[in-house]
Amino acid sequence: MRSLLLSLLLLSGAVAAEPLRPFVSGSLQQIVGAQRGKPFLLAFWSLDCSHCQDELRMFGKAAQQARLPLVLVAVDTAAQQAEIGARLRKYGLDKQPAWVFADADSDKLRFEIDRRWYGELPRSYLYRADGSSEAVSGKLDARRFAAWLQQIGG
């Protein structure tokens, strides 16, 4: 019932879509700081990553059920923001905080995020309350994602 009400609320457009934010050097600290020590999921994706779409679909379904502490970062360019916005709307994720890579030197951004990330997508970071995180390359396993949701919900 609660999820139904929430869906109706979302459908009514009462919650405004988040503007796409430019991800630059220092943005990661800003994102982590804004969570104020609460666990959250930081997910990197791109328009041309087919496996990312499966993951976005999974996130979208979860976001319909309950508030999802998920921050999305598109590893595309700001010039593609219209497409990025359309894709997020398609999966019902346009209310999540969303960022887009906004430094032409994406190697530098990636190195700053994680020097052991080689650009494979999707790439997710499961942040714990203590600020530490676990990196996952490839689509998050549905069971693992469900377990994580349960863990942070309880």
């Binding site: 503007p19 796409l20 934010r21 430019p22 630059v24 220092g26 943005s27 800003q30 791109s46 328009l47 041309d48 990553c49 087919s50 496996h51 990312c52 779409q53 499966d54 360019t77 700001a78 010039a79 593609q80 923001q81 219209a82 894709r87 887009v100 906004a102 032409a104 030197d105 994406s106 190697d107 530098k108 990636r110 190195f111 700053e112 020097r115 052991r116 080689y118 650009g119 494979e120 997508l121 999707p122 790439r123 390359s137 490839g138 689509k139």
Partner: protein, 401 residues
């Protein structure tokens, strides 16, 4: 037409971004980056020793030649008269090949407005680049799905195109069947008609968005190396000699099981004695991620596989080139401030290796490294946002110490 529209609208986007909070003028920054040509450049030596480069500018492929090994290039000529959305990134770059009669062939991937979709395109010139054929679509399936990552090889056996094709995946999905990844397709060019012929499927289940490496055996038969999706979602590498009879061979065994787009394809070079030299990226045997291996003619898997590069410095996007017993490896590393192209050499056909050294370095965005050969000389080519196209000769090992 739709693709052209989507392309022409690109520069209009990028206006309404939220402020980064750091005083960045996002609009100006993006206008600037759009005006720049993409860094993914195609390069090749013509039989006469001139070095050619193919750049993508505003939807047009521009070709320019250098007669001093890349120090200066002449004014460019335009290949496609009508601009189209041309993919130009690390894994998708303009393809440049030369035929036996001095023909110049250019291939590229045209992006379509639908996600993950594109056409493999081709144009050629028979007058040294003065005039160009109307671009043709190589894939004979016209659906707006993926026919991307096209690569070309022009050997004594003719001109071959190979690309990643989603028609079988699309057909399987329509029947609600599972299909791993994409498929590898090829077509042969008929110089008499100036057209690519019927498309032929080489293999089901390729990875979807990693470049394909294409070279040829001493007899001119093309050989493809690509990231494949083996059962259990294992993204290792496969090699196939395109003689219509040779089977697909699995050539990497790193067991990288992942639902991901690595955007990180392999490289292949075949020596005059038929030995295949391979480099690839995989995460199944972390911490090492880049690997070199070689296969003597007729062998079924690589021998003496060695890890290369520093995994803590983002070692990535390797290239390999075999000039008989001399074998060169090049890859990119990043230390947080600067990118560097690291190289390693072997003078005994890939059995033993020199210590890695930095051949080029610089700040800012850059392309993947490429290795090219002119007679017995080997050149490293690297395109940088700041500094442009760098071409340096890699001297024989003895001269380095």
């Amino acid at each position: 037409m739709k693709a052209l529209l989507a392309f022409s609208m690109l520069p209009l986007a990028g206006m309404a971004l939220a402020d980064a909070g750091g005083g960045h003028d996002m609009q100006q920054m993006w206008q600037k980056s759009l005006a720049r040509a993409p860094l993914a450049v195609g390069v090749a030596f013509a039989p006469d020793g001139r070095l050619w480069r193919a750049d993508v500018r505003q939807g047009v492929i521009e070709l320019a030649a250098s007669d001093d090994f890349g120090q200066r290039f002449a004014a460019p000529v335009k290949v496609n008269a009508t601009a189209e959305a041309i993919a130009a990134d690390g894994e998708n770059r303009p393809q440049l090949v030369f035929g036996p009669q001095g023909e110049i062939g250019v291939g590229w991937t045209q992006s379509l407005p639908q996600p993950f979709s594109g056409h493999a395109r081709f144009s050629w010139s028979r007058d040294g680049g003065k005039s160009w054929s109307t671009p043709q679509t190589i894939n004979d399936d016209a659906a707006p799905i993926s026919h991307r990552f096209v690569v070309l090889d022009w050997s004594s056996k003719g001109l071959t195109a190979v690309w990643l094709d989603a028609r079988d995946k699309t057909a399987a999905k329509a029947k609600k069947h599972d299909y791993r990844g994409s498929a590898l397709y090829s077509a042969a060019f008929d110089p008499a008609s100036g057209r690519f012929g019927a498309n032929r499927k080489l293999a089901d289940y390729s990875c979807e968005c990693c470049r394909v490496a294409l070279a040829h055996d001493p007899d001119g038969t093309p050989v493809a190396l690509w990231r494949h999706v083996f059962p259990g979602n294992i993204r290792d590498h496969a090699l196939q000699r395109l003689d219509g009879a040779s089977p697909l061979q699995r050539v990497s065994f790193d067991q990288w099981q992942i639902d991901a787009c690595p955007h990180h394809g392999p490289s292949l070079s075949i020596a005059g004695n038929g030995t295949r030299h391979l480099v690839w990226f995989n995460q199944g045997r972390a911490p090492q991620m880049l690997f070199y291996g070689r296969m003597a003619a007729g062998s079924d898997k690589p021998a003496d596989v060695v890890g290369i590069g520093n995994p803590d410095a983002q070692a990535a996007h390797p290239a390999v080139l075999a000039a008989e017993q001399r074998v060169l490896l090049a890859w990119k590393e990043f230390d947080g401030k600067q990118s560097a192209i690291r190289v390693q050499q072997s003078t005994d056909g890939g059995k033993s290796w020199s210590a890695p050294r930095t051949a080029l370095e610089g700040a800012g965005q850059s392309d993947h490294p490429q290795l090219l050969r002119w007679q017995q000389r080997v050149f490293l080519i690297w395109n940088m946002a700041e500094g442009g196209l760098k071409v340096v000769e890699l001297s024989p090992l003895s001269a380095e110490h």
